[in-house]
């Protein structure tokens, strides 16, 4: 295919990933258009782009999932390409097709390839044809067929949405009694999340690792792999810590997985960036699915390979040939900080960012859209930021991560940073005793907060309770008097708080 230039890129996403894509586009001399919902009117991603367009109300279905509104925004701003980021419309073939129909370059695989791979059932068929091992499974919503499958492959059985990804609508069924209810609930959640209620069952592996292969394909038939990422540490079947390389993975298994991913990508006629996910148990690996988009955890690969995957995506979309891959160096680990309460079943949290400290230092990268004053609402995914640390080896990366977490703080939104620090500091993580059951095995109960730390928390609470009334008085009496009365009232968080 002929080379073509992208002059202006619309980013059909929000949050940290929109900001991250804008940064690369700017570096490449490409103008950017942000789209935003009413809830994101004052967000950092809208501010960072060269232009910003309001596309609808806060509900994702009316804004970031609204294909017509996004294509219209691209047309009105003369954007010649769209980057979908991850989540939202990134794996919706009709979106890729709508862009193509409007004469706009879609930064991702072709719509027909995406449609094939995005459907777990069709993807398994392609994998099987390319000699890539798969976990035994069946697509059905018929209770009788499901019972028959479970009887043949044995419990536990995993019930999940046939469309979409990200662990939504996924359930592990331990015995026959729970099967009908799980089918129904999974179908209902799948319908709500993806508009597609089809359900897929598969044999559930007892203690597998989740390892994935990053690959890139260009329009000239070249496909390359950029190593693997270990993503075993998950909660609610969603990744929270990822690293590369996968520690202790047998070299033969690694090579066979990468070979499988490349065969699969070639068989599918894949272009742009994609990820083949595998479950690995006892040196056997099984293909799970292809994520036909950029992954949340892509920085782990970027850091280790010294590359910019968004830049690679844009170059591929402009018809360029893939360059040879540089040799990977050292180890990279990522931790995802979510607005959730780890001590209460990872219940989503909301709030206003009152105080924010972002870590820095050698080998430390923090990708975030957070800013002091930002509102974290309930409309979108609660990812607050990603801490990525590089080290010459795993232990150095791990130690850098601990130091970086100690520099991190968000006041105002309950989040998982402390929980992630506990994991990274733990003995099972240090010895890489990894499986997708890691959190339930080692952190079923949140780690106990040590007494000095708990004391510090209680003291901070007492100071906050004391400062608030005098802060209110400060409004009436003038700040000086209040500052003398209560040293705590001088603290920045309350300056912010008072202004609201």
């Amino acid at each position: 295919m002929a080379k073509r230039r992208i002059k202006k890129l619309l980013i059909a996403n929000r949050g940290e990933i929109a900001l991250r894509i804008i940064r690369t586009a700017r570096m490449m001399g490409i103008k950017t258009v942000a789209v935003y919902s009413e809830a994101d009117a004052r967000s950092t991603h809208a501010a960072a782009a060269d232009e910003a367009r309001l596309i609808g109300p806060p509900e994702a279905s009316k804004s970031y999932l609204n294909i017509d509104a996004i294509i219209a925004a691209a047309r009105e701003t003369d954007a010649d390409a769209i980057h979908p980021g991850y989540g939202f419309l990134s794996e919706r073939a009709e979106f890729a097709q709508a862009a193509a129909d409007a004469g706009i370059i879609f930064v991702g695989p072709r719509a027909d390839v995406m449609a094939k791979l995005g459907d777990k059932v069709a993807a398994r068929a392609i994998a099987a044809a390319a000699n890539v091992p798969v976990v035994p499974g069946l697509e059905t919503i018929e209770p009788a067929a499901a019972r028959d499958f479970a009887a043949r492959s044995g419990f536990p059985v995993l019930v999940k949405a046939a469309a979409g990804g990200g662990g939504r609508g996924m359930r592990v069924v331990e015995s026959l009694e729970g099967l009908d209810g799980a089918l129904e609930a999974a179908s209902r959640e799948a319908l709500a999340a993806f508009g597609d209620g089809r359900v897929f069952l598969e044999k559930y592996l007892a203690r597998p690792r989740h390892i994935e292969v990053q690959f890139l394909g260009d329009e000239h038939g070249n496909v390359i792999a950029m190593g693997e990422r270990e993503c075993s540490i998950q909660r609610r079947h969603q990744k929270i810590i990822e690293e590369s390389p996968a520690p202790g993975l047998a070299e033969a298994t690694r090579a066979a997985m990468i070979d499988s991913a490349l065969r699969l990508a070639r068989a599918a006629g894949y272009t742009n960036a994609g990820t083949a996910e595998f479950l690995v148990q006892d040196d056997h690996f099984y293909f799970l699915e292809v994520n036909a988009r950029l992954q949340v955890e892509h920085p782990v690969t970027e850091i280790r390979f010294g590359c910019d995957l968004v830049a690679e995506q844009l170059k591929i979309a402009m018809g360029e040939r893939l360059a040879p891959v540089a040799a990977p160096r050292g180890c990279a680990i990522e931790g995802r900080v979510y607005a959730e309460d780890a001590a209460n079943g990872f219940r989503p949290a909301t709030g206003t960012v009152l105080d924010l400290r972002i870590p820095a230092g050698p080998g430390v990268r923090f990708d975030t859209h957070l800013a002091a004053g930002a509102e974290i609402g309930a409309f979108y995914d609660g990812l607050l930021g990603k801490l990525i640390c590089w080290g010459a080896d795993r232990d150095q990366a791990r130690r850098r991560m601990l130091a970086a977490f100690d520099e991190f703080a968000v006041l105002g939104v309950t989040n998982t940073a402390g929980f992630l620090r506990d994991i990274v500091a733990s003995e099972p993580f240090a010895r890489a005793d990894l499986s997708t059951r890691f959190v339930e095995e080692f952190f079923a109960e949140p780690a106990r907060v040590e007494q000095p730390e708990m004391d510090a928390a209680l003291i901070a609470a007492a100071l906050a309770a004391q400062a608030a009334p005098s802060a209110a008085k400060a409004e009436a009496n003038g700040r000086r008097a209040a500052a003398i009365r209560s040293p705590w009232a001088e603290l920045g968080a309350f300056e912010l708080w008072r202004r609201r």
Binding site: P348, A378, Y380, L411, R421, D455, G492
Partner: protein, 177 residues
């Protein structure tokens, strides 16, 4: 001041006894503790305690006090003095929505006796189902919502009354202060 960590049982008591310059003396659950607090220009403070230093920050919203100690966040609820008498050990008399969302299912009816940990309401928010459960044994006094209804953060979903009200302690006995 009595505090409870949101979503958890068990109370903590903390009292500031003296605060002179950066020196702080507090009583935590009857134990006397000294610490040093140094406010920072960027916000928050550095707290030195037991030979360790923590970056702390705090803010208050109604009865909730939000705290950050290093990367860890704490969500405290102020427990009113005497309020517990009225509820006979009930951890929370009201089940409220922890975030805006849709009520998917209501699993109890008024008059039902429920045990600690028993699911009461299923909410859908952030594309996920969240089950809200009773924190202690109780009787369902009132169901304030129905399935399908959209609710705001903090909306009362269910009101509970004590499982075994003792006749000697009247329920209206909690002082308004």
């Amino acid at each position: 001041m009595k505090l409870r960590e949101a979503g958890r049982a068990g109370e903590r008591e903390v009292e500031i006894l003296a605060h002179q310059g950066t020196q702080l003396r507090v009583r935590i659950d009857g134990r006397e503790v000294s610490a040093q607090v140094e406010p920072l220009a960027a916000g928050g403070a550095v707290l030195s305690i037991d030979g360790r230093r923590f970056h702390i920050a705090g803010a208050r919203r109604k009865d909730t006090i939000l705290v950050a100690v290093g990367p860890r966040t704490f969500d405290f609820v102020r427990v009113e003095e005497g309020a517990r008498h009225g509820f006979h050990g009930l951890t929370t008399p009201q089940i409220t929505a922890p975030m805006p969302g849709k009520v998917l299912r209501v699993l109890v009816e008024p008059g039902d006796a429920v045990g600690a940990g028993q699911p009461l309401v299923v909410l859908e928010a952030m594309k996920m189902e969240t089950t809200l459960a009773a924190e202690s044994d109780a009787i369902v006094k009132r169901v304030a919502v129905e399935a399908g209804q959209m609710v705001d953060h903090g909306a009362v979903l269910i009101e509970l009354s004590p499982a075994n009200p003792s006749p000697s302690a009247p329920e209206s006995g909690s002082p308004e202060s």
